[in-house]
């Protein structure tokens, strides 16, 4: 299957996207956020909560921020305290949590010793992350990478132990990827809850303990079924980079991570999101965590045919932001979706055209294909038919990461049997239509070729417009998902700050250094 795309146009689209993101990156480079700082704290191994249940990373950063020290970066303050008190970062944090002292009030230690401490802490943290990454890469190699499209299912009971039961069941049925859906509105929390959680609705809290529990369960299953099983969670919302950090620590394989999703769909402040996404992606690039971008969401709130080019446009922007974080294309789960109203005449041809366009524009990436959701109804049988065609388009157009549609999408988060039915549907279609993509050509100037061409052309026009007004203004204009967000509004704006002259973030610097040097 092949699209006759104008390669000059493709190149042009990429260049425009690069220029657009270059502009934003200049802005990003000058700033940091509370969450970026908490990320450093977490990478230094600080975990746990204080007596009021506030996570220590929050206590530590708040301590420094409230005393106006954060412009220098949290690393310095922690190292300084470690030296001054001869404590480990965790001990320092616990003391701060107990209000025994404030980091900013500790006497500044000798610069060179603090610098050495920073290096030492950074070195050992990075080593630890590298070890985790290496172990997973080896496990993947050993057990073998399943065929694409990977079968990706979600668990969403709200209770991590129930999630484990269902995830294991799904793996034994054939799931390659388990995503633990986060509890509703967790993305608006400006902290990561602590410990294993058994209450949540619409999903389970993303906590480090929950990550660990699920990782262990999946590794056990992987050994049993002789197939590597990937674990996914969400790095978006107000704790984007921190979630990436704990995911790296706990050996997750994938994260939902988009450069604009939080802005558009969670009304998170633009600056906050742009700065946060960069750090979170850097961690993903470093730790070989595949990101899943969120373009599928645009065509939930806007028309999937008329606005198809907004998906393409955003994919190209997401790609550029990922490249800026040093990410190899194979870790880019470029998002898109099968979301056209099933009543549309030739809807399937549009879906094929759009899916093939994504696949063709990002040949090295691992596109993440999302199932029908918005036009799923209480007719579970019809839903099963919609999912059948979705599965077909996916295998036919060679998608990589294939999130399974649930026949009960319009009703509830998946029951154990819903997942089983979804997996068996996908396995049936993938096998039954295995070589279809190789065998089929679309007529030159036919429906599919023309539609793909049109979407690409529209994307280029849109990129030109965005280039001229800037990405932020474009978002104000409501280009993506028909949603408009203002530059200075949205949640978490107060968590963004301009770095001081003496700002230092050793984790970021070290990771960038390694990622850039291709040392990986």
């Amino acid at each position: 299957m092949h699209l006759d795309l104008d390669q000059n146009l493709v190149r042009k689209a990429r260049e425009l996207a690069k220029e657009i993101t270059d502009d934003v990156q200049k802005f990003i480079d000058l700033r940091s956020t509370d969450s970026v700082e908490r990320t450093v704290v977490r990478v230094y191994g600080i975990d746990g909560v204080d007596a009021d249940g506030i996570p220590l990373p929050n206590s530590v950063v708040y301590d420094v921020k409230s005393r106006d020290g954060l412009k220098r970066g949290i690393a310095y303050w922690i190292a300084n305290a470690c030296v001054a008190k001869s404590m480990s970062p965790q001990e320092v944090a616990e003391s701060v949590g107990k209000k025994e002292f404030s980091l900013v009030e500790i006497r500044p230690q000798k610069e060179s010793i603090v610098a050495e401490k920073i290096d030492e802490l950074t070195e050992s943290s990075i080593k630890q992350l590298e070890k985790i990454k290496r172990e997973r890469d080896e496990m993947l190699k050993e057990l073998g990478d399943p065929n694409q499209p990977y079968i990706y299912v979600i668990v969403a009971t709200g209770n991590i132990y129930e999630d484990v039961i269902q995830a294991k069941t799904a793996v034994s049925e054939g799931a390659d990827i388990i995503a633990v859906i986060r509890s509703t509105a967790q993305s608006l929390l400006d902290f990561i809850p602590f410990g294993p959680t058994t209450e949540g609705y619409g999903g389970t809290y993303a906590t480090q303990a929950n990550f660990r529990i699920m990782r262990k369960a999946l590794d056990e299953m992987a050994a049993k079924v002789g197939r590597y099983v990937r674990l996914t969670n969400y790095a978006s919302g107000l704790c984007m980079p921190e979630i990436s950090a704990i995911a790296a620590i706990e050996g997750l394989d994938m994260l939902l991570n988009d450069s604009m999703y939080g802005i558009l769909f969670r009304n998170i402040n633009m600056m906050r999101t742009f700065v946060d996404q960069h750090t979170s992606r850097l961690i993903c690039a470093f730790s070989h965590i595949t990101i899943n971008t969120g373009e599928d969401n645009y065509i939930k709130t806007s028309d999937p045919i008329d606005r198809a080019h907004t998906v393409t446009t955003s994919q190209l922007i997401n790609e550029q932001f990922a490249l800026k974080a040093g990410m190899e294309p194979k870790y880019m789960g470029i998002g898109h979706a099968f979301e056209i109203d099933p009543d549309v005449e030739n809807g399937l041809l549009y879906e094929i055209a759009h899916a093939l366009l994504t696949r063709s524009l990002f040949p090295q990436a691992t596109p993440k294909y999302m199932p029908p959701t918005r036009y799923m109804t209480g007719n579970i049988f019809k839903g099963y038919a919609q999912n059948t065609l979705y599965n077909l388009v996916s295998v036919m157009t060679g998608q990589s990461i294939h999130l399974l549609g649930m026949l009960t999408e319009a009703i509830h988060t998946p029951l154990v049997q819903d997942r089983y039915l979804a997996i068996s549907n996908a396995k049936y279609v993938f096998r039954n239509a295995k070589a279809l993509g190789e065998d089929v050509e679309f007529k030159k100037d036919g429906f599919v070729q023309e539609e793909a061409r049109k979407v690409l052309e529209n994307a280029v026009s849109l990129l030109e417009h965005i280039k001229s007004v800037g990405l932020m203004v474009s978002i104000e204009e409501g280009i993506f998902g028909d949603i408009s967000r203002k530059i200075d509004e949205g949640k978490g704006a107060d968590g963004v700050f301009v770095k001081g002259e003496d700002y230092y973030n050793p984790i970021i610097e070290k990771m960038e250094e390694i990622v850039r040097s291709g040392e990986l």
Binding site: A170, E173, A185, Y201, F265, H412, L415, V416, Y420
Partner: protein, 249 residues
């Protein structure tokens, strides 16, 4: 209706009148096999089914067995005695609504809408409120008779009540999509409690909508009306106009 149907005892119709045929599917947390099948059959029989055909009993991993069953129920319903609690929607259309409101109320009806609490789903509410409407049926913003404020999603009930005072709202429209672990009940109750506490419940026409909302549930929770899956904006408009006009007269 099919011929010779006794409406005092209707039963499901599969192949023939009153055969009582029902399809069921479910999972038991026990390993597949004869014992699982027997357990499933026993369960189904307890519900009053006979002629139980267990057409699928499949190992779905993790010691779970999934069943598909066709069976005949011995239950029936007296259809003649069924009473329904329905929203009464008068047959008035946009022009008529605009005319009547301007004639009798002599001002716009102020409507405020929001998805409350943790719920971030706006598409449903937007379909009712936005110009564009739903499946070709215009939304309330299109009506001259209405002044609409759409607050969007994840609005705390307290804030909604505050805004409704500020805008002097006649009508509050709440959307609730997420129903897992009964979160919608909690959030909807919270809103009513606040309105009660502030003693403004009577002054306001309080409406809730969402795919799992029924009018019955809405009334039970203290709302004036509830609108479910596939609601058309024009129905909501007609209901509002009718109630506001009745109230004001």
């Amino acid at each position: 209706m099919i011929p010779n149907l006794d409406l005092r005892s209707i039963k499901p119709y599969g192949d023939q009148a009153n055969d009582g045929m029902i399809q069921l599917s479910f999972t038991l947390p026990v390993p597949a096999g004869a014992k699982a099948r027997e357990a499933a059959k026993t369960l189904i029989a307890l519900m009053g089914f006979s002629d139980i055909q267990m057409v699928l009993s499949e190992d779905i991993g993790g010691d779970f067995t999934f069943f598909v069953v066709y069976a005949k129920t011995n239950k029936y319903v007296d259809y003649t005695s069924i009473k329904t609690l329905e929203v009464e929607i008068p047959k008035i259309v946009i022009e008529e609504i605009n005319d009547k409101i301007s004639k009798y109320l002599k001002r716009q009806v102020v409507i405020i809408g929001a998805t409350i609490g943790s719920d971030a789903h706006t598409i449903g509410l937007d379909s009712i409120l936005n110009m564009k409407g739903y499946h070709g049926d215009s939304g309330l913003e299109r009506y001259k008779a209405f002044k609409v404020y759409n607050l969007g999603s994840q609005i705390p009930p307290l804030e909604l009540v505050k805004k409704s005072r500020e805008y002097k709202a006649d009508v509050i429209l709440v959307s609730q999509i997420v129903t897992q672990r009964e979160i919608h009940i909690k959030q909807l109750t919270e809103l009513v409690d606040i309105l009660d506490a502030e003693k403004i419940r009577d002054k306001i026409l309080l409406i809730v909508g969402g795919p799992r909302i029924t009018h019955e549930l809405a009334v039970e929770l203290g709302y004036d009306a509830g609108f479910g899956a596939g609601t058309m904006p024009s129905d909501v408009a007609a209901y509002i106009a009718d109630r506001i006009l009745k109230k004001s007269s």
